[in-house]
Point group: C2
Chain length 187, copies 2
């Protein structure tokens, strides 16, 4: 008798990440992921389109947190402040640092996954620039601000997953923004 | 008798770009490119590893202009000024706007080429951050400055290829940097 266990999606993700770390993304099959999670392949495909999508789950919610915050910021908020709020909202979604770190190791080991990750960030940047233009920021400032936001996010994210337990992601974002401000001011 | 013609490399590039534009990158073969250029496949492969590399020719020289300028800037030059000089040096290499515009259209039509282009910029950013660290700029400022430089380059590049003939690429770079400065200052 199979004991009912909750959270099949989370268990599949955990099993996939463990296997990708042990034997590499390319060398892991969906059958192995399902087996490790104590579930069937059919259950896997009810939750994920393929083994790659396990790693990009939540990307839409992440984009929405990011872009939605910019869209919903009051009209008199400066673009950089709207973007700072968006960065903090997106950072708040990534509470599980261990998962984030494991995922990053897997992605760093696969050119295919790296290209996918870059292309996700490129789409996010396009959506963000669009939201900034809708707030009245002209080009090229809108695209530049969007690219700057992605750069700040990625740099703060790397520091967060590599750092010690007491480093707060939103704080790392604020520090990165301060450094960027200092560099552009010619410091 | 085959008439000797100079510049086989340039002719292959021109033929490839024309064919990619006419029938798409995926639907063009090396044999067709060679034929259009009035050359043999063998000559093609003496110059390019595959049909994709025709579009990424010169990437190493471009990276070297960019990164070398930062590396060779006097020690007392502020990072943002070293990066500005690097952007102008890289921009000076792309004198042929018509070629750049055709190439961009081809790349925009192919997810494979887009991913390749993103990955080239990611490598450039890494090399640039490295050069900035060697000049004594700490992390995360070095990585952020490198990402900012790439963003400025790409935005100015898009404006350059889309704009009218009288827009000067280095001038567009300076304008983009000014806009970025205004945004980070909270304007």
């Amino acid at each position: 008798m199979v004991r009912w266990e909750p959270n099949p999606r989370g268990r599949l993700q955990e099993a996939a990440l463990a296997l990708y770390g042990e034997r590499g993304f390319e060398n892991t099959t969906v059958a192995e992921i399902a087996e490790r999670a104590g579930l069937t392949e059919r259950t896997f495909f009810r939750h994920f389109a393929d083994k790659r999508e396990v790693l990009f789950d939540g990307a839409d919610a992440f984009t929405e947190a990011f872009v939605g915050t910019v869209r919903n910021a009051p009209a008199d908020v400066a673009p950089i402040d709207a973007v700072t709020a968006a960065l903090e909202a997106a950072a708040a979604l990534l509470a599980d640092r261990k998962f984030a770190r494991q995922r990053q190791v897997v992605i760093a080991a696969s050119p295919e996954l790296q290209e996918r990750e870059l292309s996700k960030f490129a789409s996010l940047s396009t959506a963000l620039a669009d939201a900034l233009r809708q707030r009245g920021l002209a080009e090229p400032a809108a695209t530049l601000t969007a690219e700057l936001a992605i750069a700040v996010f990625r740099v703060a994210f790397e520091r967060w997953i590599e750092g010690s337990e007491d480093q707060d992601f939103p704080q790392l974002i604020r520090e990165s923004l301060d450094q960027l401000r200092a560099v552009t001011a010619g410091a």
